[in-house]
Symmetry: none
Subunit: 240 residues, 2 copies
Amino acid sequence: MEEMDDKKTILIVDDEKPIVDILVYNLEKEGYNTLEANDGVTAVEIATTKKPDLILLDIMLPKMDGLTVCKKIRSSLNVPILMLTAKDEEIDKILGLELGADDYITKPFSVRELMARIKANLRKSEIKENANNIGEDGKTKKIVVGPLELDLDKFEAKVDGEVIDLTIREFEVLKFLASQAGQVITREVLLEKVWGYEYYGDIRTVDVTVRRIRGKIEKDTANPRILITKRGVGYYIRNN
Amino acid sequence: MEEMDDKKTILIVDDEKPIVDILVYNLEKEGYNTLEANDGVTAVEIATTKKPDLILLDIMLPKMDGLTVCKKIRSSLNVPILMLTAKDEEIDKILGLELGADDYITKPFSVRELMARIKANLRKSEIKENANNIGEDGKTKKIVVGPLELDLDKFEAKVDGEVIDLTIREFEVLKFLASQAGQVITREVLLEKVWGYEYYGDIRTVDVTVRRIRGKIEKDTANPRILITKRGVGYYIRNN
DNA sequence: AGATTTTTTTACAAAATTATTACAAAAATA
DNA sequence: TATTTTTGTAATAATTTTGTAAAAAAATCT
């Protein structure tokens, strides 16, 4: 299934092989593509040629230190950079941020937390892009199903042409459902795909979010015409 | 009702009695069955013979360490494994994940969080199972028999092109019958395949469900043309 | 035909699932 | 930091589905 939007690519810059392996393993399990660089020079090279969607950057690196790498990359690319630092290098952390890093995480880190950070940063950068109105390849990505129209670049929904203001979570649920309109999606799958790796909460959270979406896109929430319940299974977007 | 999925069984692998006791107490309170193993060798043995739905596995164990246990179990079983680690064993944690563990939690852990994690991991493993039932091959899976058409993705039935709204139970019965159209299926088999092995209810429940299906798909329920009774045997879907 | 077995039909209660609401926690923003 | 917004949780209400039982109807057998 999947492939709603194409896979995001993440560049891992670290000279410690075991750490790189762990990161690659977990990132790919989560559905990202990965690139590797073991030193600073290679990192800058790969970053500029391959243009990854996010960079994980260790501060301690051979040939060129992480801070310099960060600065270099930033001078030519607007990619989110997540710094990896050894503990108690507080000064470095801050310097890193000044240099344009978007976030940092201290080693040893929990894989779970890292995944959450990555996801959050990717999302932020998507939003930023649209704010600048820089439509990468020019064309606007949209999903249209009946009266529902989702503008994936603007994070904007329209129903019968009228703009609806949705929160990110609401938008993502709607997007996932709409990308497979007509197909019933279970709550389990929604939690897994929208809430993701880091989520351990109650499954009924989905119901409440659906309720909130309905409150915004349906004229009569008791008789929804767009986002339909398939009792005993899940929810789907009507497509006929 | 729904005795289809009985209680989930969780195998606890830890050599510290107090911890095991706490886990057992809380898990059973939450409605899980529990199994215990105090060392690695026993763990592998119980895991393979009893096939629990999820395994809680401490990394520090007598006889065989947790990582090895994890690897061993994984080689033969596809059960979710949740590793328990003492704090600051970050490397171990991650190694555990590389070895195929699905998640980890550090000691001392909050019971509440552990329960949430267990729930989430069970949920994920259910998704995998489901995914096999539903067509992942891109095309929508359908069963067509005469005027009857079942869309397995939408949980939707059509008769002569007209959409019929069925409940899941009704849909499942129809699906089972339709998947072997022309063949008479006994009530016993239907109960076992649709209601599940552990169903203790009355066999006439099948009749009522059939009646309800007929009420929806047949024009004249007294003279069914799709779902036919074979008196003294069972029911079948006409396919000629 | 009458008795017996089996199935159909109906109505009702119980069970399961979903919707709704209010509130608290967390996150984002000013 | 304070304020606002978003999100998750939990409790309750509303709704739908399902199982059961009992009676009616139909088929089968003597």
